[in-house]
């Protein structure tokens, strides 16, 4: 049994977290004798998490007058003016023609270049879910709908178990990383700790847009620190508090990885593409550098996690939401340019996620927590210029409207993640292990990425 098979067996057998230690020990033994079969080529996934809940029904908007009127009746004072919409030309079959607001012109450009696609009305689901089943009480619903942190967590774990601590990118890393080597994690976060990248074994490594800081007084590259470092290591070995052990583990990763990362970032090609100063752009700039440094880092698979906050537009929506979408659009376009410069457009796929969509109805000057929402996927491997999944009816109290314009998702976030994982190189069997309830959904309707 090689390592991947072993992990499959423990994931499939439903070994709980309580057996983690035992699993870890077995794994260490197996790693000593067997290595994961290396995946070929280089691929990276870049998750841009829109924290707070993107009102994506103000991102894709009907353009034809009668459909626009339905939209405007529901959205009232939050409706975006019809004359400012940029129509999307697409071969996708849609119930009504769609456009994006003019402040998303960089996204419209990418869409029409075939570099970007929309996945419609995605959200956490336990099973395919219809309004009638919800109303008669027979539907199984995700726990704690409309709660920020819980819905973020369901997006990231890709399932409906609110107590699950591992995320889908973390479980991918468990399967495909050679954990015997004490090397940099496949999963790098520029937005701190997150569930998505947390595996049962592999943990994400956190950096910032500024890079990986070094421990100035514990830096082994400086001779004057050597006595202090030796003493420090002796000192911390004398403590065995279990919370302290977690603290030591983070510190140890920080000490090892910062050295490695900074050396790899030392000599990189200078790109013509420049990034703006907003935090999203800066995090994408650092992501670009880490991708450029992939060989020095010894990576052929990477998942990056980027956080972009401010989307919880309960008020001031007309002020804030256009600005956020504009920032996102510009940053995506620059990132696309930078990855093209590296010659890696087929190898890097960026995608969005967000807590939830928002109510189509207004609360006066904003919107409240909803459920389904649209997502963007960008890269050379994307079958772009298309919209995937179903575009729901926008009229209030339609079959898609749970109430007040909370859209019942028509594609599960698990299906969405599974497409990304499959492109990343996981076999169907591995995908099924990473996404535990995927088989409940028909996954064939959203093939938005080119097959390997």
């Amino acid at each position: 049994m090689n390592k991947r098979q072993f992990l499959k067996s423990i994931l499939a057998s439903g070994v709980g977290l309580s057996s983690y230690s035992a699993v870890g020990q077995q794994l260490a033994m197996i790693n000593a004798s067997a290595k994961a079969a290396p995946l070929e080529n280089y691929k990276a996934l870049v998750c841009i998490f829109l924290y707070g809940g993107n009102d994506s029904y103000n991102m894709l908007i009907p353009t034809e007058t009668s459909d626009y009127q339905t939209y405007a009746d529901v959205r009232q004072n939050l409706a975006i003016a019809q004359e400012t919409l940029i129509p999307l030309s697409t071969s996708s079959s849609l119930p009504y023609a769609l456009g994006v607001p003019d402040y998303m012109s960089p996204v419209s450009e990418l869409f029409h270049q075939g570099r970007l696609a929309f996945i419609n009305n995605v959200g956490p689901l336990v099973e395919p879910t219809f309004k009638a089943n919800i109303e008669n009480g027979s539907a199984l619903l995700p726990p704690q709908l409309f709660s920020h942190n819980d819905q973020q967590k369901l997006w990231e774990t890709a399932g409906s178990n609110i107590n699950e601590l591992s995320g889908w990118a973390g479980r991918m890393a468990d399967l495909i990383t050679d954990t015997s080597a004490n090397s940099l994690s496949m999963n790098i976060s520029l937005a701190g700790n997150n569930v998505m990248q947390t595996g049962k074994i592999v943990q994400p490594y956190s950096m910032t847009a500024d890079g990986a800081p070094m421990f100035d007084a514990l830096n082994p590259l400086h001779n004057w620190n050597s006595q202090r470092i030796a003493l420090f290591d002796q000192l911390i070995a004398l403590d065995n508090h279990v919370l302290g052990n977690s603290y030591k583990k983070i510190m140890s990763t920080a000490r090892t990885n910062a050295l490695q990362v900074n050396q790899a970032l030392d000599s990189l090609p200078i790109l013509a593409t420049t990034f703006d100063q907003d935090s999203l752009s800066q995090e994408l700039a650092m992501t670009t550098k880490l991708i450029a440094a992939r060989e020095a880092l010894g990576m052929n698979r990477q998942v990056f996690f980027i956080g972009f906050g401010g989307w919880d537009t309960h008020d001031r929506q007309l002020l804030d939401h256009p600005r956020l979408l504009n920032t996102l659009s510009l940053a995506l376009h620059r990132f696309n340019d930078a990855i093209n410069e590296l010659g890696l457009s087929e190898s890097v796929t960026a995608f969005t996620a967000s807590d939830f969509g928002r109510t189509l109805t207004s609360n006066g000057d904003g919107t409240d927590h909803g459920w389904g929402g649209h997502q963007l996927v960008m890269g050379g491997a994307v079958n772009g210029g298309k919209l995937y999944g179903e575009m729901p009816e926008l009229a209030l109290n339609s079959q898609n409207d749970l109430a007040d314009g909370r859209m019942i998702p028509t594609t599960s976030s698990e299906e969405y993640g599974a497409q990304l994982a499959k492109w990343f190189g996981l076999t169907d069997a591995e995908v099924a292990q990473v996404f535990p309830t995927l088989s409940r959904f028909d996954q064939n309707n959203i093939n938005f990425l080119q097959s390997n």
Partner: protein, 567 residues
């Protein structure tokens, strides 16, 4: 060399706070006749002055922004319970008055409120009140990361003062104060929230309704009094509320706006713009229908906005979840990340009744949390798991308190604690605070089922920056003796004063120095081996400069898990 009046003032405060001076350290402290616990402690042993100081430091690390030698000696003379009583009665040190003189400055920005926070947390006599207010600021979260509040540090200082002032009042009173605070009104968009307009599909804003329940009062699921999950007959968790209840509360929270707003000025916000006075209500914009809250609570139609609000806050405060929900979080913030159910229940019962039939008496709750046998002796019962990861910013206040921070500018100019610590007062990325109370690194959860909330912000980057703080502001920024003899010259330089430590090392030797640091910093968490290791290193070090050798020890200890985990 000039010293500012504020600096001198702070020295005076420190002395008056301690009521005892540092040269008393060798005097033998009085014996505590009655250990101040309400339940039976482990068998009393003869008082060992070293152990007694360690016990005092433990309480001070739980109840203040960090133990100091002066405070340790003072607490020993007073006794634990009397010290707490004294702290409960010290008048509040406020933030707004420290910010107010600068409001009209062209460069008025967060630096002034952050300075005020350092001033009060480092030097306030009301240490316990300040410490509890900080904990409350991480439960009842308002953050500057908001389009309006970012430019209004005075509004945030004022909000913080609500927490400081009401830290020992009743929960119900505090809940009303924060609900009507204009900072909260802006942050969670209750301010300006209107009754529904059916014709235009406009509903009341659900933001405050949702978060006041999820985060400030009852939480998502029904709890037993010991904080464990209540289950239904099918073994399933029971949600505390559903969307109908959210709507009910959202309708309650309509009609409130800046103080003094009238029907005429409702949309002319600039006429009443006021981020300091509590919001006031305008009946015309308040929903007049009846409102369904929790099962059994129905607010009749046509109540005033004030009556609806009062009834709704009563409903929240009287919910059976509040005592364990709030008690557990306060225990986690002050004492231990993983309290036993029995500890939570004991505190929840004090929350329900302070002994005088009053519910939600926060002073009684805090006192009970600190004097509980688990708070006082938990580290003996579970030495490998009791305690919590110290919040990084409180490691900083501790260093600066313990080693007499010295500076020559007129205020502490340290405006971006976020950079070093991943946190700053009232600057959380969202209403969910910097970290969640149930955060657990996956291996800690898998192996032990424990949580370590503060590790959510302990990323590799933040941890590195925090330890670099101890290097830049400790290891490499210190003096001893007369401040006039140092090279402090830059306006914004912050120095540690190791005079006390130098004299201990010179007069009593390395063992005494390490015992001193083991008391003041780690409250006994350095075991004998660790002390021997550091004593030997200190004595064998080729470095001639004793002060630098002390700085090196302080850096090593404050970076190590023995210090990072408060136990």
């Amino acid at each position: 060399m000039m010293r500012s009046s504020i600096f001198l003032f702070s020295i005076v405060l420190l002395v008056s706070c301690g009521g005892d001076s540092a040269n008393n350290t060798t005097a033998s402290p009085p014996v505590i006749d009655n250990p101040p616990t309400t339940t039976t402690p482990p068998t009393p042993e003869p008082v060992d002055p070293y152990q007694q100081k360690i016990q005092a430091a433990r309480l001070l690390n739980q109840a203040t922004f960090g133990a100091t030698l002066t405070d340790i000696n003072y607490l020993i003379t007073r006794g634990e319970e009397a010290w707490i009583e004294e702290q409960l009665n010290i008048p509040p040190s406020l933030h707004y008055p420290l910010v107010e003189p600068f409001i009209d400055n062209d460069d008025f920005w967060r630096t002034y409120r952050i300075s005020a926070w350092w001033q009060n947390t480092l030097y306030g006599e009301d240490q316990l009140r300040q410490r509890v207010a900080f904990a409350l600021s991480e439960i009842f979260v308002v953050s500057e990361y908001n389009g309006v509040l970012f430019d209004s540090p005075e509004a945030l200082a004022n909000y913080y003062d609500i927490l400081v002032t009401n830290a020992f009042s009743s929960y119900r009173h505090l809940l009303e104060k924060i609900t009507l605070s204009p900072a909260m009104g802006v942050y969670l968009s209750m301010l300006g929230n209107e009754k529904p307009n059916i014709a235009r599909n406009i509903r009341p804003d659900e933001n405050y309704a949702r978060e006041v329940m999820q985060l400030f009062s009852v939480g998502l699921v029904e709890l037993n009094i010991d904080g464990s999950l209540k289950l239904d007959s099918a073994g399933q968790i029971i949600p505390t509320y559903d969307q109908t209840v959210i709507k009910g509360f959202a309708h309650v929270f309509t009609g409130w706006n800046f103080n003094g707003t009238t029907e005429d000025t409702w949309y002319r916000w600039w006429q009443n713009f006021n981020l300091l006075e509590p919001m006031s209500a305008v009946t015309h914009y308040h929903d007049a229908q009846e409102k369904h809250l929790f099962s059994g609570v129905l607010l009749p139609a046509n109540q005033t906005p004030e009556k609806d609000l009062s009834d709704a806050l009563d409903a929240l405060a009287n919910h059976s979840n509040v005592p364990p929900f709030i008690a557990k979080q306060l225990i986690q913030k002050l004492i231990t990340s993983n309290p036993t159910p029995e500890y939570i229940e004991r505190i929840a019962r004090v929350f329900i009744d302070n002994g005088f039939g009053e519910r939600g008496d926060l002073a009684a709750v805090i006192k009970a949390i600190l004097l509980d046998e688990e708070a006082r002796f938990g580290h003996d019962l579970a030495p490998q798991s009791f305690g919590k990861v110290r919040e990084p910013i409180i490691r900083a206040t501790h260093m600066w308190r313990a080693f007499n921070l010295t500076y020559i500018s007129d205020r502490i100019d340290f405006s971006w604690p976020d950079y070093f610590f991943g946190q700053a007062p009232l600057a959380s990325p969202s209403v969910f605070n910097f970290y969640r109370p149930d955060y657990s690194p996956i291996e800690l959860n898998a192996s032990y089922g424990l949580v370590a909330p503060e590790l959510q912000i302990a990323t590799e980057s933040t941890m590195t920056n925090t330890i670099n703080f101890f290097a830049w502001y400790g290891l490499w920024r210190h003096f001893s003796g007369e401040v006039e003899n140092t090279d402090i010259s830059e306006e914004d330089e912050l120095y540690l004063d190791f005079s006390t430590e130098v004299s201990i090392a010179e007069e009593e030797g390395a063992q005494a120095l390490l015992e001193h640091l083991n008391i003041v910093l780690t409250a006994g968490a350095l075991n004998d081996q660790a002390i021997t290791l550091l004593v030997n290193a200190f004595e064998e070090s080729e470095q001639q400069d004793i002060e630098s050798k002390i700085a090196n020890l302080v850096f090593l200890i404050m970076s190590a898990p023995q210090y990072a985990i408060q136990r």
